[in-house]
Amino acid sequence: MWNYNEKVMDHFLNPRNVGEVENPDGVGDVGNITCGDALKLTFKLDENGRIADVKFKTFGCASAIASSSALTELVKGMTLEEASKVTNQDIVALLGELPEAKMHCSVMGMEALQAAIANYRGEEVADNGDDHEGAIICKCFGVTDTKIRNVAKQNNLHKASEITNFCKAGGACGSCLDEIQRVLDELWNNAPAEKAAPKLDDFNKLTTVQKVFRVQEVIDKEIRPLLEHDGGSIELVDLNGSNVIVRLTGRCSSCPSAGVTLKYTVQDKLREFVSSDLTVESI
């Protein structure tokens, strides 16, 4: 069960401004039923160009409904100039807090607002509120690199898992997580976050002895215990540039799945803990 605070529960149980404004000046439609969240925002301006009436309809969880409701309270009375500066952080601030995994609900609110303003101004918006520009990085949720960069900049996100919390990308099949991380690494080039795994160039700067030492450590701590579970073992024979040469012993050496074991277990682990460019060869 999610732990929503009282403010979120209040907006969920007593949502403000539900419905659709008649003859709206702007309409914003974002999200879709496939990914489990969708929001339609409509507004009308008064003679001074301020948002006089604003309403929402939301398909989604409690925090999606609460975020939409909070959004309408937030922007009522604003000029479009002011409203266009509203971010998902403002929605979260009004609600007090949202669980980390639900941050995407606040992002959806911001996107609906931006889409509605663009609609009023006669600018073209994509169906899903996603930018036209940019390449799709996450196929499951149709998220582009442009969107990933925007969300990351606005919320100071450095890790792929944080991107998943804020815009879902990476949260289904997960096959795009490496790509998301690459986009983030590129974006934060000047101020990279602390990375758990050492990067290849770090590895390349090491002396050969240091390299061997690191590979050996990962084999001892991470790989051998796995193989021993199946009655096999592994020895490091040589290191030739980024090619790791090993000898598989015991059950593994005669096991027909040795090739697969090698590829998946040894190489994966070495790439995960040492350097993503390593290849493995057995003798």
Binding site: K102, Y264, T265, D268
Partner: protein
């Protein structure tokens, strides 16, 4: 936890400990704390009580083999259903090292599916068999997947989300034709429907105490006599050297008592639970437009109902029901912390318009007709409220 009345219709998630069960187990948390492995009478008498519990479980499953000491040695106590599942699959692979393949259905519990992914990482083949729109397994695909490289087929006895009961005997026969073993995760079936292992081809079967009014953290793996077994947890000689670790005596005794209660009440309960379920389903169908009952109506558990409410999202439904103390669960993405609806609903091809708004109600003997009627009173306005909020709902759908 608050003190407001709770209408608990989430019994496939877990059940309350039956009062009789609690009473039976308490002495083993107080006076009778001996180790059943000890040589002295103080511990030794506890060993008798463990064996007695084993017999009661064997009786519930009609596992009729007894060793010369009269013990039901086909029953192995474990720590939970998940351990039983893991132990069964690993044992099949380790005792048949020349076979590298495991076959399961796409709607198995994560205890099997995630184990399968782990097996793949270790070089084994894990193949999953699709299901149709009602969650029925594709028998033809299963036959095609079976080969002489298959060590074991594992298909659940009954599904936790939609309640489907699978044709396990038929599947066991197919597996045996190819020299493969057959295991069934019967965690949701044991205690709810009759199981007759004496007249069955099932080789191994998993069960979990907390689904039949025993405590959490006790499970059973049934291993048919004559099936080779390799322990999953290696240690002392407990459970005839098939599962190391001092027995969880109080919970073992509890599960024995729970099995006895289930066996004695089975015929009545099947009728009672189907009555509650049908009352709920018919009531909902009458009162709420655009809903769908999921699963195989011709073969399912008496206590489980999976209902899709179109155009709205499950977490919101659950939270509003929670306001009235109604506890159910949902296959929606948002409740589980994942971002996709449940793998069972997706495997069935339930459209996203319904999958996100799917709620599972699961009853036990402690539920009442009044509770069902309370749900029938509270739920329609909840659904209407959320639909009014939904951009996909149109008033003409109500006709």
């Amino acid at each position: 936890m608050s003190d407001k009345p709770v209408i608990y219709v989430d019994n496939n998630a877990t059940t309350c400990v039956a009062p009789e069960v609690l009473e039976a187990m308490l002495p083993y948390l107080t006076r009778c704390y001996g180790n059943p492995g000890s040589i002295h009478t103080f511990g030794g008498s506890v060993a008798k009580d463990v064996e007695n519990a084993r017999l009661k479980i064997a009786e519930l499953l009609n596992a009729d083999h007894r060793n010369p000491d009269g013990e039901a040695t086909e029953i192995i106590f474990t720590s939970c259903g998940t351990e039983s599942d893991n132990a069964a699959i690993w044992s099949a692979l380790l005792t048949n090292p020349e076979r590298k393949k495991v076959i399961a259905s796409k709607v198995e519990h994560p205890a099997i599916l995630n184990l399968g992914r782990e097996l793949e990482r270790r070089g084994y083949i894990f193949e999953t068999i699709p299901v149709d729109g009602n969650g029925r397994i594709d028998m033809q695909a299963l036959e095609e997947a079976l080969d002489d490289n298959t060590a074991i087929v594992s298909v659940m006895y009954a599904n936790n989300e939609i309640g489907n009961i699978y044709p396990v005997e038929e599947i066991a026969k197919l597996a045996h034709k190819h020299g493969a073993l057959f295991h069934t995760d019967a965690v949701q079936a044991v205690g709810k429907v009759p199981i007759d292992l004496a007249n069955s081809e099932i080789d191994m079967l998993s069960c979990s105490g907390h689904k039949l009014h025993a405590p959490k953290g006790i499970g059973v793996l049934y291993v048919r006599r004559g099936i080779r077994f390799r322990p999953f947890i290696v240690g002392g000689h407990q459970e005839k050297a098939r599962r190391g670790g001092t027995e969880n005596v109080a919970s073992v005794v509890a599960l024995g008592k729970a099995a006895e209660l289930a066996k004695n009440g089975m015929a009545e309960e099947v009728k009672y639970l189907s009555m509650l379920r049908d009352r709920l389903e018919n009531g909902l169908l009458e009162r709420i437009p655009r809903i769908k009952i999921n699963g195989d109506k011709s073969s399912r558990l008496p206590n489980t109902s999976s209902v899709s409410f179109e155009f709205i999202e499950g977490e919101a439904i659950l939270l509003l029901m929670n306001q009235f103390g109604i506890c159910a669960s949902s296959g929606s993405a948002c409740t589980t912390g994942s971002l996709e609806p449940s793998h069972v609903l997706r495997a069935m091809g339930i459209p996203y318009t319904s999958a996100h708004g799917t709620i599972r109600f699961s009853f036990s003997r402690y539920n009442t007709v009044e509770e069902v009627d309370f749900i029938l009173e509270k739920l329609p306005p909840i659904i209407a409220t959320l639909r009014k909020l939904s951009p996909y709902w149109k008033e003409e759908y109500a006709q």
